[in-house]
């Protein structure tokens, strides 16, 4: 991914490393290129270095090694206030002693903009987040969601081309969060700004982003559009981290082009698509999405390997059925089936046979 078309590179991390204490690297060899107008999400477990990357981009932390470029210019030595990057903080960081309108006009004032122009831009920004009537209030008089909108408007009001958001929706409840996700995405698209968005929440990452960078242990594990990330995880961390996933462990028996035969630890043989395995004898983790597993014989394609399974639990979830099985000694094997008139409801204790397309089953690193 690092070698995208050079002309469209707007933000570039070039072999960036970061250490706070001189002993451990918090960010290890980060290479990342964003074209203009992209909505990129950094997703990863806590402590994986997402905020650190964002802070380096914003200028509040300096890279220990490597180069960060904005519009082709290295910004390592440019102080934060000259970078012109909008930022939305997790706790909003709205200035409590200023009204909403004053908060919004602050970045315009420091840019020495005239009063009339300022007022007009503040009004437009407030209208954009549908908070036009709240200009005279103090942040403390707003709800969390409203504060969030104001923080967003403030990051956008000075027409920054790049906006960074660090878990901006972390403090909101689920419903509001979903609404704001949609709102942020809509505004970002309509303004054509480039967004780097940090989150813990994979649903948020998948629904909002053009591309998602999955972080772990200071490295990008995979950088891909949401669908690709979900359907074609490149390693077992990503497969585990994104969405629900079943894993079975075993050893590669043979590889034929894009078919690998894997012998599970319990002795069963299955087909998989080799992703991170290259030669027979390697240990591997096989990953299958729950919704790609099929137990209904009629719906299964011909010629796929099948496995015996015992139903442990059946959960009715409305739109889908979620069934937990014991497969090849794994008690946590989950399948999801769509609620349809012809779909059987399994009973605990029932013995069934399951199968899947070999392409849906990915043999990843152990």
């Amino acid at each position: 991914m690092a070698d995208m078309n050079g002309d469209s590179a707007f933000v570039e991390f070039d072999r960036v490393q970061k250490s706070y204490d001189g002993e451990t690297l918090v960010v290890k060899d980060l290479n990342l290129t964003l074209p203009k107008g992209e909505f990129l999400t950094m997703l990863g477990p806590s402590g994986s270095g997402k905020t650190t990357c964002l802070m380096m981009l914003a200028g509040f932390e300096t890279a220990t090694y490597g180069d960060i470029r904005l519009g082709g210019v290295s910004i390592n030595n440019i102080p934060p206030h000259k970078r012109g990057i909008g930022m939305v903080f997790q706790n909003y960081a709205l200035f409590p002693h200023m009204t909403v309108a004053e908060n919004l006009s602050f970045p315009l004032e420091v840019r020495k903009m005239g009063k009339a122009e300022r007022e007009q831009k503040v009004k437009r920004a407030l209208d954009m987040v549908q908070m036009g009537a709240f200009g005279g209030r103090r942040p403390a008089q707003l709800s969390g969601g409203q504060q969030q909108r104001i923080a967003l408007a403030r990051a956008l009001v000075f027409e920054a081309e790049l906006v960074l958001m660090d878990e901006p929706l972390g403090a909101l409840d689920k419903q509001l969060r979903e609404h704001m996700q949609f709102e942020i995405k809509r505004i970002a698209d309509s303004l054509g700004i480039t967004v780097v968005y940090v989150t813990h929440d994979q649903t948020e990452a998948l629904t909002m982003s053009d591309r998602v960078a999955v972080f772990n242990d200071g490295r990008i594990q995979q950088l891909a559009p949401p669908d690709k990330l979900y359907e074609e995880p490149e390693n077992s961390f990503v497969a585990q981290f994104i969405g629900e996933n079943n894993t079975l462990e075993g050893v590669v028996k043979e590889i034929n082009g894009n078919r690998a035969v894997v012998q599970l630890d319990g002795g069963e043989i299955i087909d998989a698509r080799p992703v991170n395995v290259t030669k027979p004898g390697e240990r591997t983790r096989v990953s299958i999405r729950p919704e790609r597993v099929e137990y209904n014989k009629d719906r299964r394609q011909e010629g796929v390997h099948t496995l015996k399974a015992e139903v442990l639990e059946f959960i009715y979830m409305g739109d889908i059925f979620r069934t937990r099985l014991r497969v090849a000694g794994n008690d946590e094997f989950v399948i999801k089936t769509r609620n349809a008139p012809d779909q059987a409801r399994l009973q605990p204790g029932q013995q069934i046979e399951i199968g899947w397309l070999p392409d849906d089953c990915r043999a990843l690193d152990a």
Binding site: F60, P80, H81, G84, M87, F89, A93, H97, R154
Partner: protein
């Protein structure tokens, strides 16, 4: 359901039928009473130990009962005297003064009054002291005269017999008790084994009054038997005054009670009665008794309550025509108030200037370094105030460390060493040092609550470091500055040890003056008035501060 709601047309009632409002009020009252009972001991303690002394102090600044308590009769008679004229008061005033002062001198209360009046009129103290000793001589003239007529006049037993007997005059006795009780502050109750007779108090009112006063004093203060003691000289003077009343001889002739014979013998020789000129007698004791100023002071300070202390505290005085400015060379307090305020402000500002960066560092350093620094900030609290102040003496004096270093560096000449102590500069430096922690601590606790993300947000919005600080960080730290400033300013305004030690003459505060009046000149009334004004000024400033900044904006933490 619907039935119940339809029935509720009148006021809501509780389960027992009483109106809900009343029932609620009752249950709340019970709760309040219980809460009050729980805190009552503490509340009483606070009231007694904290508020009571303050009100006592406020009260002392207007209280002036000592004059009318010590000279009750004089004050009444003197009220008619024209203090702005050139005439000393007449004989009647001096007569009242004589009897008041004689009793006060016996009770040893007259010097207190002298001290009190001396605050207003210099020299009165010694006038009272010397006169008190010599009042006995005044009455002896008539005592000798009476004893020449009949030796019995020198015997206590005869006096006792003459004064008592027959129906008693309770009014005279009870007013004598009240008079002495007011004078001495003791209760003066109890049996004295004497009651003035009604006949004698009608015939010789002044004599009955003074004899009864003597009798009460003798029986209760001296714990002697009235019948066995000889009366004091004032009683003879009182008899002389009564005898000198026109027409008294005829009254005596008509009198038939005890001692009638002796009285009639005296009445027969009235022509040879030494003249009753008490004004002249006072003039003989001291010429100053004829001075208008002294009498004017007594008259002006006769009322039980006075504005004199307050006027005094603002460089004015109470003259016969009301308040007037003091002579230029006696004006000191307004200047001291002004200096106290200005210097306290200077100290507050230098505390802000020095404390702000320190508090900022404390709030922003990593925890371990911040803790170490906090110990350094608190270290001065662990050393004695005197040690710290003395250390500044060592540093600042002309042969001190700083001057030595400056001379050594060649910045100042050896013969032109800087004067940095015993003036305002020294006071400001030492007090700033001593009060600095009181600025740093509230500032620190407020700054600690300001998340660093605000500064980052401001910078990401395009503000330079300075703008981000000034527009975003500083306004949020203002509550800390407010709290620290109020604390430092109020502490500074009442500080007195440090200005006393390093202030010299130009760097002392009003509080030094208050301390002086409390412990040296013992003019507690003036000290109280100065303290009350100081309290008023602080409250006023507090109010102004509330108006401008808002007291809600003061935070000591969180």
């Amino acid at each position: 359901m619907s039935d119940a709601t339809q029935e509720q047309t009148g006021p809501m009632v509780a389960a027992d039928g009483t109106p809900l409002k009343k029932s609620l009020a009752r249950s709340l009252r019970m709760q309040k009473m219980r809460a009050l009972a729980l805190i009552a001991p503490l509340l009483i303690f606070v009231l007694l130990t904290f508020l009571a002394p303050i009100f006592d102090m406020l009260f002392r600044s207007v209280e002036n009962q000592i004059v009318s308590d010590t000279l009750p009769e004089t004050v009444v008679v003197l009220a008619d005297w024209d203090g702005s004229g050139t005439e000393a008061p007449g004989e009647d005033v001096f007569r009242a003064l004589y009897f008041d002062l004689f009793l006060a001198a016996e009770a040893k209360e007259h010097t207190k009054l002298g001290t009190r009046l001396n605050y207003e009129q210099v020299g009165i103290s010694s006038l009272f002291r010397t006169s008190g000793r010599r009042l006995d001589d005044v009455g002896e003239v008539w005592q000798d005269w009476l004893e020449d007529i009949d030796d019995q006049w020198g015997e206590g037993a005869f006096w006792f017999e003459m004064m008592s007997g027959g129906p008693a005059d309770g009014d005279v006795l009870s007013s004598a008790r009240t008079r002495l009780a007011t004078l001495t502050g003791d209760s003066m109750r109890g049996d004295i084994g004497f009651e003035p007779s009604e006949a004698i108090s009608t015939l010789l009112p002044r004599t009955a009054r003074e004899y009864t006063a003597w009798a009460v004093f003798t029986a209760i203060e001296d714990e002697d038997v009235v019948a066995e003691e000889d009366p004091w000289e004032a009683v003879y003077a009182a008899l002389a005054v009564d005898l000198a009343t026109p027409g008294k001889a005829d009254d005596i002739a008509a009198y038939s009670g005890p001692g009638a014979a002796q009285l009639q013998a005296v009445a027969a020789q009235l022509d040879s009665l030494p003249p009753v000129d008490i004004k002249g007698a006072f003039a003989d004791i001291d010429e100053d008794w004829l001075a208008i100023d002294n009498w004017a002071a007594i008259q002006v300070y006769s009322p039980k309550y006075t504005s004199g202390y307050f006027l005094n505290a603002v460089d004015m005085q109470l003259g016969p025509d009301g308040a007037e400015a003091r002579p230029e060379n006696q004006q000191i307090y307004l200047m001291l108030f002004r200096r106290t305020l200005v210097m306290s402000l200077a100290i507050t500002f230098s505390c802000i200037a020095l404390g702000y960066p320190v508090a900022w560092l404390l709030a922003n350093l990593p925890a371990r370094k911040a803790n170490l620094m906090m110990i350094l900030v608190l270290l001065p609290f662990w050393t004695s105030l005197l040690v710290r102040t003395s250390a500044w003496k060592v540093m600042l004096q002309q042969q001190g460390v700083i001057n030595d270093v400056l001379v050594w560096l060649g910045i100042v000449a050896d013969d032109a060493r800087l004067v940095m102590i015993n003036n305002q500069f020294g006071t400001i430096v030492a007090m700033t040092h001593i009060l600095l922690p009181f600025m740093i601590l509230p500032l620190y606790s407020v700054m600690q609550t300001i998340p660093p993300s605000y500064l980052r947000a401001a910078k990401s919005l395009g503000a330079t470091n300075w703008t981000a600080f000034w527009r975003v960080y500083f306004p949020q730290s203002v509550p800390g500055i407010g709290a620290g400033s109020i604390l430092v300013f109020i502490l500074a305004i009442g500080y007195y040890i440090t200005p006393e030690l390093v202030g010299g003459t130009t760097g002392t505060f009003i509080s030094n003056r208050i301390a002086y009046h409390i412990s040296s000149s013992l003019n507690w009334g003036l000290a109280a008035a100065l303290g009350t004004i100081l309290l008023g000024v602080v409250l006023l400033l507090y109010w102004v501060y509330d108006r401008i900044v808002g007291i809600d904006n003061v935070k000591l933490g969180g």
